[in-house]
Subunit: 717 residues, 2 copies
Amino acid sequence: MVAIMTTPKPRSTTLDGLFRPRSVAIIGASRKKGHLARELMHNLIVHEFQGKIFPVNPSADVIHSFKCYPTVGAIPDEVDLAMIIVPRDHVLGAAEECGKKGVKGIVVISSGFREVGPAGVEREQKLIGLCRKYHMRMIGPNCMGIVNTDPLFNLNATFAGTFPRPGPIGFLSQSGAMGAALLSHADRLGLGMSMFASMGNKADVSGNDLLEYWEDDPDTKVVLMYLESFGNPRNFTNVARRVTKKMPVVAVKAGRTAAGAAAAASHTGALAGSDVAVDALLSQCGVIRAQTVNELFDVAMAFSSQPLPKGRRVAILTDAGGPAIMATDAIVAAGLEMASLAPETMAGIAKGLSEDASVKNPVDMLGHSGGEDYARCLPLLLKDPGVDAVIAMYVPPIMHDPVEVAHRIFEAAQGSDKPVVCVLMAHDQVLEAIKKRGGPTLPIYAFPEGAVRALAAMARYREMRDRDPGSMPDFKVDRATAEKILRKAASEHREHLALDEAQQVLACYGLRFAKSKLVKERSELRAALRDVGTPVVLKISSPDIIHKTEIGGVVTNVGSPDEAAVAFDALLHRAKSAFPNARIDGVLVQEMVRGGREMILGMTQDRSFGPLIMAGLGGVYVEVLKDVAFRVHPITDRDAREMVEGLRAAPLLRGVRGEKAVSIDAYIDALLRVSRLVTDFHGLKELDVNPFVVGETAEESVAVDARIRIDPKAFGG
Amino acid sequence: MVAIMTTPKPRSTTLDGLFRPRSVAIIGASRKKGHLARELMHNLIVHEFQGKIFPVNPSADVIHSFKCYPTVGAIPDEVDLAMIIVPRDHVLGAAEECGKKGVKGIVVISSGFREVGPAGVEREQKLIGLCRKYHMRMIGPNCMGIVNTDPLFNLNATFAGTFPRPGPIGFLSQSGAMGAALLSHADRLGLGMSMFASMGNKADVSGNDLLEYWEDDPDTKVVLMYLESFGNPRNFTNVARRVTKKMPVVAVKAGRTAAGAAAAASHTGALAGSDVAVDALLSQCGVIRAQTVNELFDVAMAFSSQPLPKGRRVAILTDAGGPAIMATDAIVAAGLEMASLAPETMAGIAKGLSEDASVKNPVDMLGHSGGEDYARCLPLLLKDPGVDAVIAMYVPPIMHDPVEVAHRIFEAAQGSDKPVVCVLMAHDQVLEAIKKRGGPTLPIYAFPEGAVRALAAMARYREMRDRDPGSMPDFKVDRATAEKILRKAASEHREHLALDEAQQVLACYGLRFAKSKLVKERSELRAALRDVGTPVVLKISSPDIIHKTEIGGVVTNVGSPDEAAVAFDALLHRAKSAFPNARIDGVLVQEMVRGGREMILGMTQDRSFGPLIMAGLGGVYVEVLKDVAFRVHPITDRDAREMVEGLRAAPLLRGVRGEKAVSIDAYIDALLRVSRLVTDFHGLKELDVNPFVVGETAEESVAVDARIRIDPKAFGG
């Protein structure tokens, strides 16, 4: 068995020059209000940056009361960080100067690089070259700046209107525009940050670099990411797998519905939109994916301040039935469970509540409940061993001071090792007053769905973090023979293997196929039928005919040599009329497999993520019901099992309504063998085994049809 | 053909006494701050109710500077509306007095009625009796009050902290607590209302009454509902079908995941959670269902001010790429389409934009765009015949005045007959400033998802409103024979029909079954096989054995009389050992159906909604994949077609990958015949036809198995 290990952390190339500078130069400093450089410098000053500030501008003597220098080189002190905000044609010159000065990090705000086409790409390449040459780290170009709220630095090197309050969140945004909006929204929610970076074109410092930097930052406990692309997904996998063991990473990835592989020849290729790869990758790395920006923040609020739940059982404490019903709906929909309260808990709650109150979960204390009631009942719920998390909901009635009640709730939750989140359906003014009062607090949501979303993400994170990654069995395979077959196809410049070739390759990796014989001449049919055993299926065998059923290239349930002869002629005729130029290898006579469940297993190449492995309901259902699961290659036994168990059709495999279960282990074994095949041959482009009939035992589980597409060049073709 | 008509509107029992009063008595008036009655009276006064106010309290002489009366009877003027806010034991007395005084409408704020159990139910019945006796209409009890913003009335008869601004929304809330929170939230979003009602226990005035009242109100253009239950779903169907032809009705229904019919014996029963019925009912009535309160308001903002889109094609105009990608994702996920812009549109947009800008949809004008750019490009998009709706997105950069830009966007959208919604990712202060500036405006969303959700709901509403309801074919049926069979089972006190009985009943309604013969003796097998034709399937026939496969009660692919004899003995043996006391009618010898698609058709009774009709993928897949659609009975041909086309498995019926299409019409015909059967016999409790094998033609489409459960009492049993 080969254990899956997270890659050990490399010696960190520090980003301290960027995020922990003792001095900042602003190249292109301006005194014009509204100019980005002026706003940025103003932000640094008013938020009391703890180091020195040096404006640089050859045509000014003083800016914002600071002595101004004509060049970076003219600054008498050491410069750790330079912010470059000059027209694009002056960026390279400024960067070169920084290099010569010994600046440690540059943040290039200026745009006009890769994002504007070929001329920009070239300019960006040169900029990267300068960074390498002078050992500078760079954020951007085409970005909005960076933030470090650590009071030792108070670095607000952005032109955004918001300086985040200190807190446990490291936040990176690929989009500058979104970044500014997100900073503002986060602040409104009271979310505090350790550091923030607008990444821009990610020409040097990448999201991966930041993840590694924050992994070691004592102030960062949660990472939020707004992503539009992955620079290096394979590297991301290594870094994220390790970081998510230590802290939650929550990502919004825009571009979910990108075109996808519409022209793919395999089912697997057609079903794997690029977003599927993103989902698979993030979940394999333990990253929580938020569907929307709202969800990102809902989740971040809970992660920032609450302990992780030990399980999925949620209790609700409320003073109003309506919102509790909506919360219950959301809990069930999110895959959480309504906790069953212990009799002692219910008895304790009942004391002091009116008899109309409901002491079952959701606990409804009714509309006249006040701070005392929450203070008494919340600890009882938290003490119940059947409760993993609590949602405290409060619709302020007119009789109580909502600020006071909210604080009783906050106090009652202090010190608990279970998460508590709050749904407060109150006026903005009330919420403001609650926030201003100070003292202990809880994540506050305006509606039940946000609170539930947050608890669901926490439960999911804990499960992912504590998950056994599984291992990869070490199969005995016949790699040499497989390679010979693949090389032969490549030497004939064929992308598609013929059916019998695909069968042989897979057989080298231990996949069992339905008994079959390739027949080239009508006269061989009788012998083939005898060898295979009737009834049989006849299939046209041609590397040029991929979708056989569409041209009538399959005849099932053939019982006698006479029937077989008729079918043989018909198949050749149909194939030749549909594809006059196709190379036809003959007709495959195959055992007719009965019983079992038709599944599919497959692989396709994603442009950024590399090979993806697919499992799913097979046969004709695959395209229609799309009941499939993907993982980024390579997969472990644990991955394979989770793929299968996550299918809607999983109960079919376990047996329903008196039908016998089929061998899920045999199917998992086949998935792992395909994964191994893909490990051994990088030139495989697409692979479908469909159907793979899963029988009651491993012996009865056989592949019936298969397609393999290769990159002939990878095999010397 | 029987056309489906919406019921003509009955003579409206006016609610003017409640919502358009010239005088209001407050029974239980109080001068104690924080007391509900005091807050309510204060609200009436400060929001300048246009009629007379009469506080009623025997122990006060003056309240809030108004002369106070000891009883309603003591008021010298006529009283249109009385608000009753007294301890529950005094409510009946107060109501009786109102009746004697000739009060037209009462709103009972007091609680302590049906919601507290049997004693409350009785009290509520008496209260209803008083309303009937004195021809008063009542809202509540156990409610929060009512609002009419019409300046002729300015009626704010609630104790909530918010008096909504005037606007086109009629809003009803079943929960008082939610109602107050929702009023406050709506106000924050700038949503204006015509009327509001907190319904409480709905003892007299129901949601249906309000829908009918608002149907004729010239100020109400959109109805929002927060529901926790349906009082009379069948009446709701009639009213809502009519009202939604005139104005959009958007509902949040809490309690989505209520227990459901877990103990149901049929697949149909097991799959029909009560929420499925709610979904089916709302969509058949043309009501838009919002999943969350947030969605309710997102949708309401657009309906309140924008014209309906003519189609699903959306264009995006933005100054930032990131949010546009998120909007595109949301558009595709919501079933809307990204509009393809005409070449003229793109050429027009290109003029005046930098060459780095994207003129394809989404149109990205880049970060330096200002009001001029929006003012120029938005009309071009609105003029494009390929665009049905526009999302204008704006992330304020630092160089422009965002308030000014927003207003250029608002102005540019004026007078368009296509909806425009705005995504403004800006600070709260900016949003406040935008709202305060006055002049034309647009719905504003903080993030793209809300804007897309709103457009999707509008597109869906327009399609539902303009939808052809279809008709019900007038089948020739043999009702008398079916009734005889049902009565016979009832006379034997049987709930479940035997398989052959179920077949006969369905055959009376024109459902074709696979050829079969009931065999009681071994010796009859040979003849049965000859009549039916081999191979055959043998099934145990017993009204007491519902899930035959689970006890091995089905043997397939029996080819010879000898095999049949063995199977016959085995079936009887298995049946007797599994159910020693079962009545066994014999063994059904049935033609073995090959090919075609296994579907299910069924019916179950929902406690509130009556019979539901189900269509879906049949066989063993039904329970596992749950690919089913429900409609509230009776269904039209159009309903049936939409059910089938809405299934994930629909492409299987139309033929995939070279397989022939099967007869969707034959399946629809069967669904309509089952619907007719349910119309004719109200005593049917559950019905499953599974599988119903849909063949290439109507003749080849046959039912293979069926179960019917009845209420024997309904058939004289």
